[in-house]
């Protein structure tokens, strides 16, 4: 029975935890932390159960909410694609929850349980969007995750309020476009269920309908705003770089990846390959947008002096990779895009966690915080190097394999602009991280200590300046190391992941 109900429990479990956390203020921060961990672990468990069943039966699970058959009721659909994204989201959320022990308590001394309630609510929204088989239900959960992310981001420091307010306006515009698109589809088809919509839209009389074309364009535009595709990305670096450490680790890897997943769902489940690449006039332009996003994102990242600002622009560039992979219109590109959702979720999480630990220990967000990092925080430094290697695309990290598929797909499609953008972006990323490592190795750590005015002593030892080791706390180290190991394991098992999961979700027509 547990297995049958797993699709609903993935989403309902964190929702209940969020409601209980709202009321659990008097029980203290430890209980709140425990409840959050319990919620995230529960989601991960049910996601794994559901994915296991999908792989065992080799067919999608359709879960009818309220026992109503679709399209009258709402259904959850867990197939190979949504299954792995569910596991990714719940695993990243669990790792971030473990990581949050110190930072969340320090950022929210008074309202930790409400902060955690929003945390669980955000994860509920992301999981719900991923599992949903109904375009309007997806919109409702999009609102839940967006709203809770506004609340979490506004808890950040200094100018976080202004950045979040801008994000709120832009995010609402994006959601409105998506809703408007659904409106057009509903008027023309009378249905909201994705599979039912797909069946109706594939009928010949609707192939040339202007309303449906514009509905599709509006939905995609809304999702692009949500996932910060160039040139609609301006809100992202500001909003994410000023967030609290835990908030950034939670939101930056997951929100944009789930938005990419939604784009894939709309493109290939609701609409079809033939429809998009034959009937939509602008579908050829997207590859150039994606190339521009990859290039401009990476070059902007190179120009940043603030660590998290740099990571945020990397996220913008990675969004370009995935968009390009989806729109080169072949199986290799699609595989690369889906694999990159997994890889990029992990590597962004890895980098944000490592940088968060550095910020936590030094109190600085500029690149100067990296000075002497290998002496002061050796494990964090190694995690950072693994994350950086994955962004650059060095084997055996997973970043290499996703880029391999993306370039293969682009080359098959003859999209040489995208191939060039990918290669140049990788080069720029390499330059950027070597610059960072140069500061880490050759920067003067003692200057930093004076700058941060921290109390712990440093003396002369054998003529070499010795810097006190001051590693991140264990609650941050464990999830960091697991994530970094995940990057390598995912890279080593690329063939299996592609064969057992992604290969099954390649849409018909490729």
């Amino acid at each position: 029975m547990m297995i049958d109900q797993a699709p609903a429990l993935i989403i309902i479990f964190p929702l209940f935890i969020s409601l209980v956390l709202t009321l659990a203020g008097s029980l203290g921060p430890r209980v709140a932390y425990g409840l959050l961990l319990c919620g995230m672990a529960g989601s991960l468990l049910f996601s794994l159960l559901a994915l296991g069943q999908v792989v065992a039966d080799n067919q999608a699970i359709h879960y009818r909410m309220g026992d109503w058959p679709p399209p009258m009721g709402i259904e959850l659909v867990i197939d190979h694609l949504s299954g792995i994204v569910l596991v990714l989201v719940s695993a990243c959320a669990l790792l971030t929850a473990v990581y949050s022990l110190r930072t969340a308590a320090e950022d929210n001394p008074d309202r930790l349980h409400h902060y955690y309630a929003l945390f669980a609510l955000l994860v509920t929204g992301l999981l719900g969007m991923t599992a949903s088989g109904d375009v309007f239900n997806l919109y409702v959960l999009l609102e839940i995750s967006a709203l809770s992310s506004y609340g979490l981001l506004a808890r950040g420091r200094g100018p976080a309020y202004y950045a979040t307010f801008k994000y709120l306006i832009v995010g609402t515009i994006g959601a409105c476009f998506y809703l408007l698109g659904i409106g057009y589809l509903y008027i023309m088809t009378g249905s909201l269920n994705m599979l039912d919509l797909a069946e109706i839209i594939s009928r010949p009389e609707l192939q040339e309908s202007v309303s449906i074309k514009i509905g599709f364009s509006l939905m995609i535009l809304g999702v692009w705003i949500k996932m910060a595709l160039f040139p609609l990305h301006a809100w992202l670096p500001n909003a994410y770089s000023k967030a609290g450490i835990t908030t950034a680790c939670l939101i930056a890897p997951l929100m944009t990846k789930v938005s990419v997943y939604i784009m894939l769902r709309i493109m290939f489940t609701v609409f079809s390959v033939d429809y998009i690449f034959d009937s939509i006039a602008w579908s050829q332009v997207v590859i150039y947008l994606a190339s521009a996003a990859a290039l401009i994102g990476m070059i902007s990242a190179l120009a940043q002096r603030d660590l998290r600002m740099m990571l945020c622009y990397i996220v913008v560039a990675e969004i370009g990779y995935m968009t390009g992979g989806a729109w080169v219109a072949n199986a290799a590109g699609y595989t690369g895009a889906v694999y990159h959702i997994l890889a990029d979720g992990l590597m962004t999480l890895c980098l944000f966690m490592a940088v968060g630990a550095v910020i936590y220990r030094t109190g600085l967000t500029s690149m100067a915080a990296m000075q002497g990092i290998f002496q002061r925080m050796p494990i964090t430094a190694v995690v950072l190097v693994i994350g950086a290697a994955s962004i650059i695309g060095i084997p055996p990290t997973c970043g290499f394999f996703s880029k391999f598929y993306l370039i293969q797909g682009a080359a098959q499609a003859g999209a040489w602009v995208f191939v060039a953008a990918l290669l140049i972006a990788s080069l720029v990323a390499a330059v950027m991280f070597f610059k960072l490592l140069e500061i880490a190795f050759f920067g003067d750590p003692q200057a930093l200590e004076q700058e941060a005015a921290s109390g712990h002593g440093h003396g002369e030892h054998g003529g070499q300046p010795v810097v006190a080791r001051h590693e991140a706390p264990l609650s941050m180290l464990i999830p960091m190391v697991i994530t970094a190991a995940g990057l390598i394991v995912l890279g080593l098992y690329t063939k299996e992941v592609v064969e057992f999961f992604i290969g099954w979700s390649i849409p018909a027509g490729f």
Binding site: H114, L118, S148, A154
Partner: protein, 249 residues
């Protein structure tokens, strides 16, 4: 910049007009929206749920999962305003420079409030309870119920209202309403049906499956009503006093 905004708006307007070209006529009974699912809802709705108001049936039964998350959206709004605005130890600058201090001694206002508020509350309960038969339901009834408390705060003062309905109690209601909704779903799940399959309540309530759906709709509407009214109060408390809950409008 302003000119760019105008250009973008103009482009959007042209796109909207272009999209209207092959839309079906206004209120066309042969349009897909009226022929695809609506007939099924209209023909089967009453038979399956014993509830004559089809809007309520679609809202709280066929698409009950959406409605639960709509209630969660309302809940999230209250939580966010609380997290952002409510007074924290890191003392922020006061948001309201000038605060009206009112003693609430105005006889005419108090008299009017005493007359209106009980009627409003009874009517709110009616709107929630009568959602099965007439326009109404949890959202509308909850708004009227919440408005009655805001009227109390306006005609007396904020302190007077908070003494009668403490912030902690409001919070319990905010989460409790959604908890009731999701709890009904979870009970159905525990009874061996899918989440929010109200037919699972039949065994507990001792009625048939159809009647159980009708009762299930009422239960979730009450949950929505509790959340909506307490969220209105929570928002009013925080916004009217700049998050200090001491004095304000």
């Amino acid at each position: 910049m302003k000119r760019l905004t105008l250009v973008i708006l103009a482009i959007c307007a042209v796109i909207m007009l272009a999209a209207a070209v092959d839309l079906p006529d206004w209120a066309d009974p042969a349009s897909p929206a009226s022929t695809h699912l609506s007939p099924d809802f209209l023909e089967q709705g009453y038979g399956e749920t014993a509830t004559p108001n089809i809007v309520t049936v679609v809202l709280a039964d066929y698409r009950s999962y959406d409605t639960m998350f709509e209630a969660v959206v309302v809940f999230a709004a209250a939580l966010i305003v609380l997290v952002v605005l409510r007074h924290t130890p890191r003392k922020r600058r006061k948001m309201l420079q000038h605060r009206p201090v009112r003693e609430g001694r105005d006889t005419v206002l108090r008299g009017a409030a005493q007359l209106i508020i009980p009627v409003m509350q009874i009517f709110a309960l009616y709107v929630v309870g009568h959602g099965h038969y007439s326009p109404g339901g949890g959202f509308q009834g909850g708004v009227i119920f919440g408005a009655s408390f805001i009227l109390l705060a306006l005609c007396y003062n904020l302190k007077f209202t908070i003494e009668r309905f403490r912030e902690q109690a409001v919070l319990v209601c905010v989460a409790g309403g959604v908890l009731l909704y999701a709890g009904v779903g979870a009970v159905c799940l525990a009874m061996g049906w899918n989440f929010l399959g109200y037919a699972g309540l039949a065994g507990i309530l001792g009625v048939g499956e159809v009647m159980a759906r009708s009762h299930g709709i009422l239960a979730v509407e009450v949950g929505v009503g509790i959340t909506v009214f307490s969220v209105m109060m929570s928002l009013y408390y925080d916004l009217a006093s700049g998050g200090d809950l001491d004095e304000g409008l």
